[in-house]
């Protein structure tokens, strides 16, 4: 089966985000960017399914600025076959991303879409589920294991109380959680090879999707600061402190 993997270019998870002084957003000028970690897990899972012979072709898609090509190239170096960049400098909200992805699904006809569960910038946790709803497909959100089971897909999900396993008709959307796999690092030869893999360049207008935002940013502010407290000398001092503030 063919798999579509949407990947988002986001701030590197090791960088501490800084709010812009004018309160208009987070400062991303000259900040190191990376593939969203949950998208790396999604690519890795697609590649493993291909290595097992379950998957035949992996298409990596990103919606974002020209630089998102680099993000797609990482996916290609990990084992993706080809890419699609839907290029825009606009801020595209999850609902619009899902609508564009639905159009790509119509054209590409994959049997499975694997997204990340959450982009670590907007922390929305929406796109995969929205895509599934638009397509009227079933979903396995927050997956920690995926197996093909006859004509169904068995997905184990990380839920608040533990783990839940569901069986999905195909085609389906799966979103990845942290325990699904540990993504590989692309090797240098594979990075070189990935440079020759094709990336199809598109725009939102090619799909007839209105990406005008539904949400207006009023402001972006620093969170309430927490001051460092004090170091205590030993266990007795800790217990005394906790008692004095009524915490125990």
């Amino acid at each position: 089966m063919k798999v579509l993997v949407p990947v988002k270019r986001v701030i590197d998870p090791n960088v501490r985000p800084r709010v812009k002084a004018d309160g208009s957003g987070v400062d991303l000028a000259n900040i190191k960017m990376a593939m969203n970690p949950f998208c790396e897990i999604a690519v890795e899972e697609a590649v493993r399914l291909k290595e097992k012979g379950v998957v035949t072709e992996i298409v990596i898609v990103s919606i974002g600025p020209a630089q998102a090509q680099e993000t797609i190239r990482i996916g290609l170096a990990m084992g993706g076959d080809r890419g699609i960049l839907v290029q825009t400098d606009a801020m595209v909200e999850p609902l619009a991303v899902a609508k564009i992805l639905a159009k790509i699904v119509e054209a590409e006809k994959p049997e499975l879409v694997i997204t990340g569960k959450q982009a670590i910038d907007d922390d929305s946790n929406q796109t995969g589920q929205m895509l599934a709803a638009i397509l009227d497909w079933p979903q396995g959100a927050f997956a920690s294991s995926i197996t093909k089971d006859g004509d169904k897909l068995k997905v184990t999900r990380e839920v608040d109380g533990g783990l839940q396993t569901v069986s999905l008709n195909l085609p389906a959307v799966v979103t990845t959680d942290l325990r699904l796999n540990e993504p590989r690092f692309a090797s240098l030869p594979n990075i070189m090879k990935a440079k020759k893999k094709p990336i199809d360049m598109k725009t939102p207008a090619d799909f007839g999707v209105d990406i005008a935002p539904r949400l207006t940013v009023v402001k972006v502010a620093e969170p309430r600061k927490r001051e460092a407290g004090e170091k205590v000398a030993d266990v007795d001092a800790l217990i005394a402190k906790l008692k004095s503030v009524g915490a125990i």
């Binding site: 987070v26 922390d123 599934a132 959100a141 460092a228 170091k231 800790l238 906790l242």
Partner: protein, 309 residues
């Protein structure tokens, strides 16, 4: 027009997250109806009727709802939304699973994990692992939001709403429940515990996690949490993970043991009232937000603390 709140429950009982979501809906304003979709869930529906401020409980029964399958809940909720101007769900894994489906079907851009209702169309929510607070205004006709439980307090007191049984779509749905492995524990539930003891990578094994963290938690009557590193390494189960991509907690007392304090971990616990950190590295970032820090070897400190409490 009214707000529809999705109840989080176990069929037999209502989860705390429901009352907090009702509190967020009350801050939004208007009549509040609570949807209890379940299987043999009369007890949960009756409990929802006792929440203060609720006008009416809608109770839907069906096999597919016993495990809150997203496809089934979407099919139930979307037609109901003709009568509501807003849909509020808890930002639990159940709420996060189904709410975006409902938003997409209504052609509404969802607002995830709100921490404050500013007005009928404006909300606050943390972004970038809580390193920034976004105030955002929705231009959609209907509002679809998930609610961060730690940011709202359930109202006290007791209500007496009516319970109305509503028809549920029968399916078939494109997904089916297979099995579940739920953690059984007598300890307080992590998300709502008054105290939480969390262990990190330093515990070095599941055995030591159990040997050092659990007795301290039991002494304190605390829920148990963990860092991602501890969960990834198999020292603790996945549902213990506290952080940006795990659970968000804000107990009266949070004890971080052998946890460095990465921004992704802080995102899940920095609103705790009192934070205690035990770490052998005095430069560990966790000390920058801890009220009380104890520098030293957890394998010595934790047993001493447990025995002296």
């Amino acid at each position: 027009m009214a707000v529809l709140v999705l109840a989080e429950h176990s069929n037999a009982a209502l989860n705390d997250a429901t009352g907090k979501t009702v509190a967020a809906a009350a801050a939004y304003g208007g009549d509040i109806d609570v949807l209890v979709a379940g299987h043999n869930a009369k007890a949960a529906a009756d409990a929802a009727a006792k929440l203060p401020g609720v006008r009416k409980v809608l109770h839907a029964e069906g096999e597919a709802f016993s495990h809150s399958l997203a496809e089934a809940v979407e099919a139930l909720v979307v037609p109901l939304m003709a009568n509501y101007e807003a849909f509020f769900a808890p930002a639990t894994t159940t709420g996060k699973n189904v709410t975006p489906r409902i938003a997409a079907k209504l052609d509404v851009m969802q607002i995830s994990e709100i921490s404050k209702v500013v007005s009928k169309d404006t909300f606050e929510r943390p972004i970038y692992a809580g390193n920034a607070i976004l105030t955002v205004k929705s231009n959609d006709a209907k509002k679809v939001v998930t609610v961060r439980g730690t940011a709202f307090q359930a109202a006290t007191g007791s209500g007496s709403a009516s319970v109305e049984t509503i028809a549920a779509p029968a399916g078939p749905f494109k997904s089916a429940f297979v099995s579940e492995e739920l953690q059984k524990s007598d300890r307080p539930e992590l998300a709502s515990a008054k105290r939480v003891v969390s262990g990190g990578r330093a515990l070095a094994s599941a055995d030591q996690f159990n040997q050092y963290i659990l007795p301290l938690a039991d002494k304190l009557g605390a829920g148990v949490g963990a860092s991602r590193a501890a969960v990834d390494a198999g020292y603790a189960p996945n549902d213990f993970q506290v952080g940006q991509t795990g659970k968000v907690v804000a107990p009266e007392l949070y004890v971080a043991i052998g946890i460095s304090g990465a921004i992704q971990h802080l995102a899940g616990m920095k609103d705790s009232k009192i934070i205690v950190a035990i770490n052998k590295d005095e430069e560990a970032p966790i000390f920058q937000i801890a009220d009380y820090g104890l520098v030293g070897d957890l394998f010595k400190i934790v047993p001493e603390l447990t025995s002296k409490l």
